[in-house]
């Protein structure tokens, strides 16, 4: 069932010694420093860090919304899909039309769009919501439509910028489950940014910890637990404790004079 492209690509995204400094001619303090990271096709990688680690900057770079100051970023599959913490759905369109807009921009001909939008809504279990307005949907449903819209781009790489941070715990749990299911069905590569350690361990095949100011890769863990996991699994909790300890140490470093 794997598309040919998945197996043909050596990696979904590869960052080589990427630096990012804001401000003219790089005189400001670096936000990201010497980031090297590879996401394999079909891999689910969680980027974890405290405030100021430049997680969102990193995603913007990979998404092509901004350019690195130094180093190289290679995304062989074309423009990646991006999902934000806010749903970012267009309120003047219905749920279905939001997805169709993504299909239209991708070049899908008009007659095929409706069917494809319905299929994607079914995939996120929102079959009957084609004609719903954004404001008529709950927070969790909006994020599922946003996920469907991101999937409509048919990119091999999905970037997610704390997409569930604003949701309540139970809704988040359900969405973790849906995301894991969809990731496995579509064999997408996912780069998922979060500051929630448990969430990172619940979802990721690999968890990468970034330091703050500047953001550097501190350590990474491979999560060898079978999917689907649950956020309350003992093994998830155990690894989370270990990673949280490391994250605390990283934050404490900034409190020292």
């Amino acid at each position: 069932m794997a598309p040919a492209t998945t197996t043909a690509l050596a990696h979904a995204v590869r960052l080589d010694h990427v630096d990012k400094t804001f401000g003219r001619s790089g005189d400001g303090r670096p936000v990201l420093e010497d980031i090297s990271l590879t996401v394999a096709p079909g891999e689910f990688v969680c980027l974890l860090g405290a405030s100021g680690c430049g997680k969102s900057t990193l995603l913007n770079l990979v998404a092509g919304l901004d350019r690195p100051t130094g180093g190289r970023i290679d995304v062989p599959g074309g423009r990646p899909a991006l999902m934000f913490q806010e749903h970012a759905l267009f309120p003047w369109l219905t749920a279905g039309r939001n997805i169709e807009l993504a299909l239209r921009l991708r070049g899908v001909p008009r007659p095929a769009r409706r069917t494809e939008a319905e299929r994607l809504l079914d995939l996120v279990r929102l079959g009957g919501s084609y004609g719903k307005r954004v404001h008529e949907l709950s927070g969790g449903m909006r994020q599922r439509v946003a996920l469907a819209r991101a999937l409509a781009q048919d990119s091999r790489l999905l970037l997610m910028d704390e997409p569930f941070a604003a949701l309540d715990a139970i809704t988040r749990d359900v969405l973790h489950h849906e995301l894991t299911r969809i990731w496995r069905e579509t064999e997408l590569s996912v780069l998922f940014v979060t500051h929630n350690v448990r969430e990172a361990v619940r979802l990721g095949g690999r968890v990468v910890l970034l330091s703050s100011r500047p953001g550097r890769v501190v350590r990474e863990w491979t999560v060898d637990l079978p999917q689907p996991r649950r956020i309350e699994d003992a093994a998830v909790a155990e690894l989370s404790v270990e990673i949280t300890e490391e994250l605390r140490g990283e934050i404490r470093r900034h409190g020292k004079p």
Binding site: L65, E86, A88, L101
Partner: protein, 291 residues
Amino acid sequence: MASPDTARHPDLAGLEAGLDALDTVQVRRTPVRQVLLRKVLPPVTAVVLVLAVWKLLVVAGVTEDYKLPDPAAVWDSLRQLWLKGTLFDIIWTSVSRGLLGFAAALALGTPLGLLVARVPFVRAALGPVLSGLQSLPSVAWVPAAVIWLGITDAAMYAVILLGAVPSIANGLVSGIDQVPPLYLRAGRTLGATGARGARLVLLPAALPGYVAGLKQGWAFSWRSLMAAELIASSPDLGLGLGQYLENARTDSDMPGVLLGILLILFVGIAIDLAVFSPLERRVLRTRGLAA
């Protein structure tokens, strides 16, 4: 559905359905009776009260008849216009001018607004002028327009344009300025860049501000037109509401003056209610910004 996922989470589908049902916003239509009670009754009451107070003042004789005529005398003036068959001619002369002028203002103000919003040089050059013009009463243009163009229809349209174009352009500018940057980012990641981005993301996102600008633009058009008709009245121009009012003044016909004022008010409100308010409500409602 015998995937390992559902096997391990037998309750999740049900949980999700429950969450969706609990969190979904219920949109209900208000029943007609409630609309009548909440939207129609209060203004009708207000009008009746004003009429009652007016009548009371006349009966009490607070001032001379030629200053404050009986409401019945105003009604009588209206009846006479109706019987002469000129009532709708007068209204139509002004309304057609107003709408035509507004359409021209729309055609000029929209591209101007786009330019000011998107081209920094144009914004720096024209932005302050446009906002400044909004606070200049367009009556101030009437003398200039009359000297340039004479007492003609062209002078009327010039005054309307000078009043309405800044409102429409400014509405579009503020509409575009208020578009959340997130929509533009989302649009760009979906591939909506350049002209496609403007058409599919930027302009629809700016619509609420634009429509507010149109509404204000209409109010300014109507006001400027009435001012122009009052000051620059001439028999060759055809009898509009402004001229009717001015004629009533020269004849010291107070019921006619009051009727003129009321008709101008009525037409302005009617067009707002018939065109601009429904448009604005629709735009806001689809976005969940109005009940």
